[in-house]
């Protein structure tokens, strides 16, 4: 049965409102919550005045700029307290990789302020770190492509035959490039290290089909919902701008095993390759909803709505079956706004839209 949030008079805060060539999940998360009938207040948490979701009419009721996660817990809590002086927040859904750990570590402080969330434990979060996957999962029967963690570019020439070129070069948090030669590997090593720090992940290429799975784990080893998709349109940045829901018992079982090992609580996205050798490989676990999460809603599982209820401590039955063959295609559209909106956000670091309605 579809989740109905129409009777819920609360305030929900969501981060990550940028929807461009590298879209963040906040806008689709809010749309799914609204599509569940939610009529309460939505607070958008932003880092940058150019996040496009700020400029959507009838979308977020209030917008507040947050300090970057690197500013630390004190700056974060201080900003939260400022916001709470202006509006209550009952539920918060962080959607960006780099901020999730802060929300996990500050769960208790947030809870004392009346802010609820549905997130994994810190231990669980750290196990899915890209630098840990290749050591933690294979002994538990989950294949991960051969991986080397490098902290010095000179190590690239010492990579053995287990990780031949071409290979994938990845940052700890973001970005991945295909390097065809050691020289390209060195270039990407420094490019990524400058932006995201060390170590840099060198991973064997697995030829095959890629699948992405959006999941809400129940924290006990089970799943409240799971929708797998295959990307149909991929941008030059590797982002899926179109995809179709698939139904594959082997893939479902592979995902279920990963979640049961981690006892993951909350939203996540699995990136999986089915190699041409027939083996399923775990590539990444992203600790938040993906930007394509509305596909889950379209396929019959409104996972963001389920997370709202779980954040409030309510019982939620496992979401119903998803409909294979449901597809999405991303559509870019210009938003027209007055420059004063940007001025308000830039100067005041906040925007109150509710009073305008």
């Amino acid at each position: 049965m579809a989740i109905d949030l129409s009777g819920l008079d609360i305030t929900i805060a969501v981060s990550g409102l940028k929807t461009g060539d590298n879209p963040q999940p906040g806008v689709p998360v809010i749309r799914s919550i609204r599509n569940a009938g939610f009529k309460g207040k939505i607070v958008g948490l932003i880092y940058d005045s150019m996040e496009s979701g700020i400029y959507l009419e009838n979308f977020a009721d209030e917008i507040y700029q947050m300090p970057y996660p690197s500013a630390g817990a004190d700056a974060f809590l201080s900003r939260i307290d400022y916001i709470l002086d202006r509006t209550k927040i009952d539920v918060i859904i962080p959607t960006l990789d780099a901020e999730v750990i802060l929300y996990i570590r500050l769960q208790d402080q947030l809870k004392r302020r009346g802010i609820n969330s549905f997130l994994p434990s810190e231990e669980c979060f750290l196990l899915r770190d890209k630098t840990k996957l290749a050591t933690f999962f294979p002994p538990k029967g989950i294949s991960v492509p051969q991986t080397a963690l490098l902290s010095d570019a000179t190590q690239i020439r010492q990579l053995d035959d287990d990780i031949p070129f071409p290979l994938m070069v990845k940052g700890r948090y973001y970005e991945a490039f295909k390097a065809h030669t050691p020289e390209e590997g060195v270039k990407y090593f420094y490019d990524i290290a400058e932006r995201w720090g060390l170590p840099i992940i060198f991973q064997k290429m697995v030829p095959g089909d890629e699948y992405n799975i959006v999941i809400v784990g129940d924290g006990k080893g089970g799943m409240l919902g799971m929708v797998p998709q295959k990307k149909l349109v991929i941008t030059d940045k590797g982002k899926g701008f179109g995809g179709v829901v698939v139904q594959n018992a082997e893939l479902d079982a592979f995902a279920a095993k990963i979640i049961s090992i981690l006892k993951w609580q909350g939203p996540c996205e699995l990136e999986v390759m089915k190699g041409f050798d027939g083996v399923y490989y775990l590539i990444e676990i992203n600790p938040r909803f993906p930007a394509w999460v509305r596909l889950a809603e379209g396929a019959g599982q409104n996972q963001p709505a389920a997370v709202v209820l779980k954040s409030l401590g309510m019982d939620v039955e496992a979401l119903g079956p998803y409909k294979p063959g449901t597809m999405f295609i991303r559509h870019a559209e210009d938003i027209i706004a007055d420059i004063s909106v940007m001025g308000q956000v830039s100067a005041q670091s906040e925007l109150i839209r509710r009073n305008e309605q």
């Binding site: 089909d209 699948y211 295959k230 995809g243 179709v244 698939v246 594959n248 294979p324 063959g325």
Partner: protein, 82 residues
Amino acid sequence: MNVNKLQNLAMNDNGFIFDPNTGYSYTANETGILILRKLASGLDKDGVRTAVREIYEVSEDNFNSDFEHYMLMLESLDMIEF
């Protein structure tokens, strides 16, 4: 011949085929869809030939040649196994 995977395909009369197992989609002409549906229903080569020749004027030689070619293509797409 193992045609289990064909039984999971979603096919429409316009020739669009979606494999929910892999996410791949294909197109086939009217004859191609007819053959896929007959194979998925469990007919063997003789049964498919009879069904096709009931609708289309085709010699046995032409049918055999095109059918074998089609089967090889389906096998290379991992949709059937010999």
